[in-house]
């Protein structure tokens, strides 16, 4: 496959090639059979490989992940789909108490080579429960690998690598980018899935993003360049484990960092990134590490999501707040106005 490829097509091709390469791979979930999944990522797989390899299961996410645990215990490599981010929550206990811990609680004797695919994030005008960014829940759990591709080539390569991994992988697919296209030749192998990559080189500030926000970050970097600011965009790719080396090397060079993600900022993934960069790059930093995140509210209705999701403008505003003028004198900030009581 050469030419223009969308992320959805690249993921489909990765599943097809994995099914062809290894009889132990099985793909199942809700509507992934003849329908091909609500986003068509499993399109054609049942027709090509049969009901034994790609099939619809009962509609119960804990059951889907729980049965995948048993299949992996037996030696299969199941790839299961959670239809939408918020619909993965019924499987939460299976993921955190069993998927993530089985290797540890059997002293390495039982590995679970399984992949949990989760379309996540907003930006598609969806109804409620269809636009969550759930990455912090998964990334907080030791024992899981949590990765998210931003480009079709990475989608292909990282999904193949996830299926081949001896560790369980939560594979977060940025649903608003399923239709984003790229000139690519498949099959392709990109950087290892546990490494961050520099998507655009720059000297003044490092902008760290992942999944759906990588495209937004690149647009912001292009806009900043027109205003004379040179932005380096780092695509984190692996949320757990975290690639400290790549992120810190960039920030030590630029001296400024902004993290961007769709999820709410409070106790969000960006807090971990900011903390790590502060710990590892403190003496290189010219300004505090800033975050540009979703608001700390439940995901808003479609008409309001543009006010919730990080945009190019909000990222540019964050760049403006990176203390370029060095006017800070150490004087205490003016006291904030008292809160209005009973307003």
């Amino acid at each position: 496959m050469a030419g223009t490829v969308s992320l959805g097509q690249a993921l489909n091709r990765a599943l097809r090639d994995a099914l062809a390469a290894d009889d132990a791979v099985v793909v199942y979930g809700e509507d992934v059979g003849p329908l091909g999944g609500v986003f068509r990522v499993t399109d054609g797989l049942t027709a090509e490989f049969g009901e034994e390899r790609c099939f619809d299961s009962p509609l119960a996410e804990a059951g889907i992940v729980g049965t995948a645990v048993g299949m992996a215990m037996y030696g299969l490599r199941p790839v299961v789909e959670m239809q939408f981010d918020a619909f993965a929550y019924p499987a939460f206990e299976q993921v955190v108490s069993h998927v993530a811990k089985m290797r540890n609680r059997t002293r390495g004797r039982l590995e679970l080579p399984l992949v949990i695919r989760i379309p996540y994030g907003g930006g598609i005008g969806a109804v409620e429960h269809h636009a969550d960014s759930s990455e912090a829940y998964w990334a907080h759990t030791p024992g899981l690998r949590v990765v998210t591709p931003a480009t079709p080539s990475d989608g292909y390569s990282m999904l193949r690598e996830a299926i081949d991994s001896p560790d369980p992988v939560v594979f977060l697919e940025p649903k608003r980018r399923y239709w984003s296209k790229e000139e690519a030749v498949l099959p392709v192998r990109t950087a290892p899935m546990d490494r961050a990559v520099v998507r655009r080189s720059g000297d003044d500030v490092t902008l760290l993003a992942y999944g759906p926000m990588v495209q937004t970050a690149l647009e912001a970097a292009a806009a900043a360049a027109e205003e004379g600011t040179s932005v380096e965009v780092v695509d984190l790719r692996s949320l757990s484990p975290f690639d400290d080396a790549t992120a810190a090397a960039s920030v030590r060079r630029t001296g400024r960092a902004v993290v961007v993600h769709e999820a709410s900022g409070f106790a969000g993934y960006g807090a971990e990134v900011a903390a790590r960069l502060t710990e590892q790059c403190f003496h290189f930093l010219e300004a505090p590490v800033l975050r540009v995140c979703g608001r700390d509210v439940p995901y808003p209705p479609p008409g309001l999501e543009e006010h919730h999701l990080p945009s190019v403008d909000r990222i540019l505003d964050a760049f403006d707040r990176l203390q370029w003028e060095r006017t800070w004198t150490g004087a205490p900030a003016p006291a904030p106005a008292p809160a209005e009581v009973g307003a």
Binding site: G66, M73, L76, P166
Partner: protein
């Protein structure tokens, strides 16, 4: 034209409202039993397993009282369920036990010292799940049930004749994972047998606050699965029912849900106080239905057990307890740094840094 209801099954027969048994509490055979009574050799193995199990259980309870086990959930009273179930399994089959199924694991042949690993508070199961074909004991309720379904489905797909036996308690049948597992197993016709040890109490909560179903076995019916209700203190009945269910599941007949009616004679664990929620009269009622007494009585009355054989079993049980006392150290043999070793296939840089940090803290770096 594809029809949405092509594969719908016929309604399975309703389980019996009263538990079905083969041997009554006094050790007499029940006429017209629902199953063939196991051969005398099998019955002797069941008695032997229960004697060893009860002695092991008492030993483990002592270790808990001495503070050498973090906690011990007793199996006393439930030996027929655990031994009857475990001995019905073929070597190729898998057992999915809970924290209360130590006696089942011992009956399955797992090293009794390794069985106590999780209960001494360790972070791993002790025994090798693949080698023993026993999943790690499951502490969250019912969550290993879907694992058994997936494993059994995978075995069937591979042409392997293995089946899986899942143990759970009455309280666990209220958990969503139990129902999802029942449904997946029935839809996939997975070779799985769910053995519910209904011991009447989920810690302090009695069965009537747990379920309004006529019996827990009735829960099978809605999933298109066979449900049977048996006397869980009758080791012959448990062994026969589980054996028949495994054979049917292996033959493609789909899963079976067995409710074995029994009683938790001891507190939930050594740290529980049942005087706060139940009285001793109930316990006395069940004392008369002890699973060991009735099987011994049956075998003796039919000339299949003499004092010599009985003394041999008791001696074996004592030697198992003695071996536990001798070999059980109560301490994890792993070094502190081992907690980083098994989280991932290869230790990531982040954990490697923390491992070195720990070694420096304890003066070994």
């Amino acid at each position: 034209m594809k029809r949405s209801d092509d594969a719908r099954g016929s309604a399975p027969p309703l389980p019996s409202a009263e538990p079905v048994g083969l041997v009554d509490p006094t050790g007499r055979r029940i006429a017209g039993g629902a199953y063939d009574t196991p051969e005398p050799g099998t019955l002797r193995s069941l008695l032997r397993g229960m004697l060893i199990g009860r002695r092991f259980d008492r030993q483990a309870g002592a270790l808990a009282r001495q503070g050498r086990l973090a906690v011990y959930p007793s199996s006393r009273g439930q030996e027929a369920c655990q031994v009857g179930g475990a001995l019905a399994l073929a070597e190729r089959d898998w057992l999915f036990p809970t924290y209360r199924d130590c006696v089942a694991l011992v009956a399955r042949g797992v090293d009794p010292v390794e069985v106590l690993t999780l209960l001494r508070g360790d972070w791993h199961s002790g025994y090798d799940p693949r080698g023993t074909r026993c999943a790690p004991q499951c502490t969250p309720l019912a969550t290993s049930a879907p694992h058994a379904v997936g494993l059994a489905w995978a075995a069937r797909r591979a042409g392997d004749d293995a089946a899986a036996l899942v143990m759970m308690g009455d309280g666990a049948t209220s958990e969503g994972d139990a129902h999802e597992a029942f449904n997946f197993a029935a839809v996939w016709k997975a070779p799985v047998v769910f053995l519910v040890q209904n011991n009447q109490w989920a810690i302090s909560v009695p069965l009537h606050k747990q379920s309004a179903a006529p019996t827990l076995a009735h829960k099978a019916v809605g999933y298109g699965m066979a449900g049977v209700h048996i006397d869980g203190n009758d080791a012959a009945a448990v062994h026969a029912a589980v054996s028949e269910a495994l054979a049917s599941a292996r033959a493609g007949g789909g899963p079976v849900l067995i409710e074995a009616r029994t009683y938790r004679m001891d507190p939930h664990t050594n740290s529980d106080d049942p005087s706060r929620y139940r009285d001793d009269t109930e316990r006395a009622h069940w004392e008369e239905r002890d699973p060991l007494i009735r099987l011994e009585a049956l075998l003796r009355s039919e000339g299949a057990l003499d004092d010599t054989a009985m003394a041999g079993f008791e001696k074996e049980a004592e030697s198992v307890a003695a071996a536990v006392r001798e070999r059980y150290s109560g301490e994890d043999e792993g070094a502190p740094e081992e907690m980083f070793a098994h989280v991932y296939h290869a230790v990531p840089e982040q954990l490697e840094r923390q491992r070195r940090e720990l070694l420096a803290e304890i003066g070994e770096g």
